[in-house]
Amino acid sequence: MRWGYFILLLSFFSCAETNSPNLHDSEVKVRIPSAFPELVYPADNSPTKLRVELGRRLFYDNRLSQDESLNCGSCHVLSAAFTDGRATSQGLHGSVGKRNAPTLANVAWLKRLMMEGGVPTLETQILVPLHDSTEMAPSMMPIVDRLNEDEYLRALSLVAYGRDSIDPFVVTRALACFQRTFISGDSRYDRSLQGRNDQMNERELRGRDLFFSPRTQCSECHSGVFFTDMNFYNIGLFDEYADRGKARATDRDEDVGRFKTPTLRNIQLTAPYMHDGHMKSLEEVVRFYNAGGTAHRNKDGRIRPLGLTDEEQADLIAFLTTLTDWNFVQNEELLPLGK
């Protein structure tokens, strides 16, 4: 009789084994460049092997778009430092978005998300493209239902987050967890600071000095290790702004045309430029700053004619190209699994 119970128990366990893969999770130690500040994770989303794997699978999964034609990687391409080379991104059924896809490099450290800073965390930012008909889907709930048909994803969800089905919590947490591994701090500029190989040449050094000089004041907003102060400015792009920038969130006139300072890391790879992608090259961007922008009422006082010669503009651009982290954009751990 006792043997009977034992065999019955054994058969239950063997059923469980065949229905779910044998998954074991473990903490992941994310390597952070020594010059970068400490990375503080949300209490409910510290990185683990399976959380990162689930996020990586979801990031490149076409089931995340309504018509299964797009994934996060469609507009955030690793070789372009997680941008897409378009002025504004292309969404469902060929629809065109209103803004240029931002880089996701070092997104883990951003204080506010979106160009007007309306979104407080990386987790909540993930709701944006999943509830926008010009991006991936008008609503994420049908997508969640579709993902739940995948037994392996459900198993990952259970072990990684303790939830036996995929839900908005799991999707947002896993994608955020993967994106927090997008760490870029190994450019030639970084290595030159550390006294390692790949020293900068004369032109690049002249450009660096200009960048950090009171004459250009570039580094006042593009500051710190991320080359952004994460603040919001009107740089005098237009006389009238079709996209109101920060005013979209605040409805204050003084915020019209103010957009978050973008990072300059990997800027060489993230053309076209500006919030609407209307500037095609770094040369065009530097020419714009040298001219001093329009006379918009909200324009920051530091945007004024700089009087840079053609040679100096070329120096500045040469310095900006030293901010490219080639190891980052070739990191196979950030590509789809199996590629």
Binding site: M114, E116, G118, V119, P120, T121, E123, T124, L127, V128, L130, H131, D132, P138, S139, M140, M141, D167, P168, F169, V171, T172, R173, R244, A247, R248, A249, T250, D251
Partner: protein, 252 residues
């Protein structure tokens, strides 16, 4: 002798205390159902059917929802009894909930139209279970995905002043009101509810005729001004929320 009287007094005291301890007022409860609906001309408002508003505009509603929060009864001693934290009212369907409440006399029904700031600013809908009206599933698109917070009220449809008969209005209406400044509190005037093991229904009506009508300088005239996402055309969003709360009335 003194000792005898002392003992007697002690026994009397103990038995008195015990009888106090044993006395328990009977705690009884009543069942109340709170319903939310929209009315026009005293009848239930019909979605998708054209009506004429106070400005003479022909209006058709295709989507008509708002959040109600912190529904509470205020008892005679001023204490508040929370009946429901959040409810997404969709006027195309029945909206009601039923709760047990302690018997007593209640002098007000209070609620919020929208979501209070502490549950609105920088919140994450993915933190709530699907059953919550504040969750991604339960909010049914009533949150600003690109910014923080919930959309407190939506009215979508068509309007015009030109069509006649069965011609459909053509002007788009998209009133999406919701930010901390547009949260509105409501307290029912002249409310008295005496509950003694009762089963009662409280109806919270929204008078659609007052929603699109002048109110103390407010203009919600749909053929002049019919689109707001709160951050653009915030005046219309605020006026709509003012009108919405002024259009509420409670029927016992």
């Amino acid at each position: 002798m003194n000792r005898f009287f002392s003992l007697l007094a002690f026994v009397a005291l103990v038995s008195g205390l015990q009888s106090c301890k044993e006395y328990k007022p009977e705690l009884t409860t009543s069942t109340i159902t709170i319903k939310f609906d929209a009315l026009r001309d005293g009848s239930r408002f019909q979605m998708g059917r054209i009506f004429t508003d106070a400005y003479g505009n022909r209006v058709r509603a295709d989507l008509f929802r708002n959040y109600i929060s912190m529904v509470s009864l205020v008892s005679d001693d001023g204490s508040e009894l929370l009946l429901k934290d959040f409810l997404l009212v969709d006027y195309s369907i029945d909206n009601e909930f039923t709760v047990e409440v302690p018997d007593g006399r209640y002098s007000a029904l209070k609620l919020g139209v929208g979501i209070p700031a502490e549950f609105n600013t920088d919140q994450d809908p993915a933190n709530y279970p699907n059953s919550s009206p504040l969750s991604v599933a339960g909010s049914q698109g009533m949150f600003w995905q690109w910014s923080t917070g919930y959309i407190f009220a939506k009215f979508e449809g068509k309007a015009d002043t030109l069509g006649v008969g069965s011609a459909q209005p053509t002007l788009n209406i998209a009133i999406h009101a919701g930010n901390d400044a547009s949260f509105r509190a409501y307290e029912s005037p002249g409310f008295t509810l005496d509950l003694r093991k009762s089963t009662r229904t409280i109806a919270v009506h929204l008078d659609v005729d007052k929603l699109f009508a002048p109110l103390e300088g407010n203009e919600v005239n749909l053929t002049n001004n019919a689109v707001t996402h709160s951050q653009n055309n915030s005046q219309l969003a605020r006026d709509y929320m003012d009108n919405l709360v002024a259009a509420l009335w409670v029927e016992l």
